[in-house]
Amino acid sequence: MKMSLPWREKRLFVALGEHSVALACMVNGWREWHTQAQHVLPLQEEIAAPALVAMLRSFMSAHGLGAGCRVHWFLPPDILAVAFVPQDLATVDTQWLPYQAPMVALGAIAGGRQFTTALWIHRNWQDLFRGVTEQVGGQLLYFHPRALYVHTLLQHKAHSNAENALQILKEGRDWHLFHRRHGLVRSLTQAQTLTPAQAEIRMGLEVQQVLTVLDAPATGVLNAQQQLQASAVQDVTLALSRVTGPVPREWRLSSAQLHACGLLMGQLTSWVEHRLQMVTGGLMLVFALGAAVAWQHDQTLQEEQREMAAQLKSLLPEVEKVQQLKTETSQQSQILNVHHAVSEKAYDWQVLARVLAHVPKGAAVQAVFLDHEALRVELLYPSAKGILSSWSIPEAIHPALTEVPDTRTTEDKAVRVRYAMHFKRVSDPAPPPAPKREP
């Protein structure tokens, strides 16, 4: 069993033909109206309200169409006329109508500046169908030309890609003329007294009028190839007569298609209000959901914030300890830097006394310079005799001093010799052993 969603509105479509009445229960789908159930009932006599009421009531009760159900009537051209007016309907009077203007309901379904396809129906017919609709508890909404029913039911398409291609569907005495670009432009019911040949001639004149307006409005000259051919007329009577069995899935109408081709007879206020309620409700629902999500997120944020604040509080002693240690280690580093700078260039106090105790005999110390790198001693020899060319410092005296050649200057007979002895660096690598000569 197919579930029907609450917003899927059901409507009753009544297609009135020459010898039959098609009743369809239509459901508003996502993009188009489609058939849920359809009955085709024979029409034995002239159209009468009691018979129609009986048919509609029976069908509605069988398919759950309750009170207030909106009803669309698809009427043949002898009831709802489809007239081709070669002018803009808004700029001309209604003298082309066979009745006084107050006696008809009039509307346009296609056209522009060049022409208008007008729908009109006499008030008597209007009252008849409104009465039938109200008697079955429905609401009259639209009168549509039966051509729309025929066209969509049989899925006819223009047989040519030409810009002004025309298509003629013949349904008994009803002839429907479709333009490729403008859709339904003319629909008429031929008189019973006309022979088929006469009917084709009349339809040919209609075609010529349409082509004249659309193609050559200035001259009105017709092309011979545009003359009506009998073979171009498609008789759909037989096809329609077959629509009595299972529900035809082909009868699908888009809302745009449905509402653009009809005469509005009912009130749409409640429909608009219903739609607005749905939109308003939808928006409120969306906002409510958004607000609920945001509120939940807000609560989560606050909860997380409380937890993080507690964690932060528990970390505070450690953070303070780290900051304290940071300051302390910085001060420590500074103290160590200064201490290193103070002691890095210190020399040994005792080296001077040890070295000077071994000054060569006869030499007199003239100057001494001592720092952490070297000990420089200047000796004055009274003569060149006895000068030490190099002052070797035994390890017993000071193991850290290295031997360095002297430099000398002569002053008269005395000789001034400078010795420079460097301290070994701790990091100095030991000199590699001298390579032995091969025998």
Binding site: E273, W349, H372
Partner: protein, 227 residues
């Protein structure tokens, strides 16, 4: 997109007030945006701020073992440095202490010719001003070799405090005594430390043996050796 005929028909049939319900969600939305969103935005901002603070605090707390380790590693060196430093509240006090101490040594050795006696602060390269400071002592004396030996003997016990960096001796004539004497130039380095540079709490990380040394002892100079 072509508007279905129904909507233009519906617009013609309805009054303006029919469309008023559409204002309800708009007003609700505006009210929510006006009344509630500021506090929501404030909560989000505060949440982000607390999260950032927590992240930083956690990063700092993670560093605690490293800082503790570093402090412990440096504590011995700092204690050793403190033993060799002059600890006073201000550097001027240390300067005066050095002057007084050296002057007493010179007096004890009867050295009265002192052409130069300068003490200047000298920050080591790359260090910033802090609780410790390097003091440079430049001393020039005209002495006999015996006086020099005596002075060295007096300075020797303080070699860790008055760190000798350079010494230059030159034999020069002594016109007063018709003899010769030594023109001696000394360059010492002394470390000054502000009192209590390390916080009391931080001293807890110092090993107990080092922590038991009272700071006041470090600032006092031991008695001079007698000849």
């Amino acid at each position: 997109m072509k508007l279905p005929r129904l909507w233009p028909d519906a617009l013609r049939q309805t009054r303006l007030m029919t469309w008023a319900p559409l204002l309800i969600p708009v007003l609700v939305f505006l009210t929510l945006a006006d009344r509630w969103y500021p506090s929501y935005a404030e909560h989000r901002e505060r949440h982000a701020e607390v999260a950032l603070r927590l992240e930083r605090a956690q990063a700092l707390a993670d560093l605690l073992p490293r800082y503790q380790e570093k402090a412990d590693a440096q504590a011995d060196g700092v204690e050793a440095a403190k033993k060799t430093a002059l600890t006073n509240e201000q550097v001027d006090a240390s300067v005066a202490q050095i002057k007084q101490h050296l002057q007493s040594m010179l007096t004890a050795e009867f050295i009265d010719e002192v052409p130069q006696f300068d003490i200047t602060p000298d920050a080591p390269e790359g260090s910033s001003a802090g609780s410790a400071l390097l003091l440079r002592v430049d001393l020039r004396l005209l002495v006999s070799p015996q006086q020099l030996a005596g002075l060295e003997a007096r300075l020797l016990p303080f070699k860790d405090r008055f760190v000798p960096v350079e010494m230059e001796l030159t034999v020069v004539p002594d016109p007063k005594r018709a003899s010769r004497q030594l023109d001696a130039r000394f360059h010492f380095r002394v470390m000054h430390m502000d009192k209590a540079p390390v916080t009391a709490d931080a001293s807890a990380s110092v090993p107990p043996a080092a922590a038991t040394v009272p700071p006041s002892n470090a600032s006092s100079l031991p008695p001079q050796p007698t000849r």
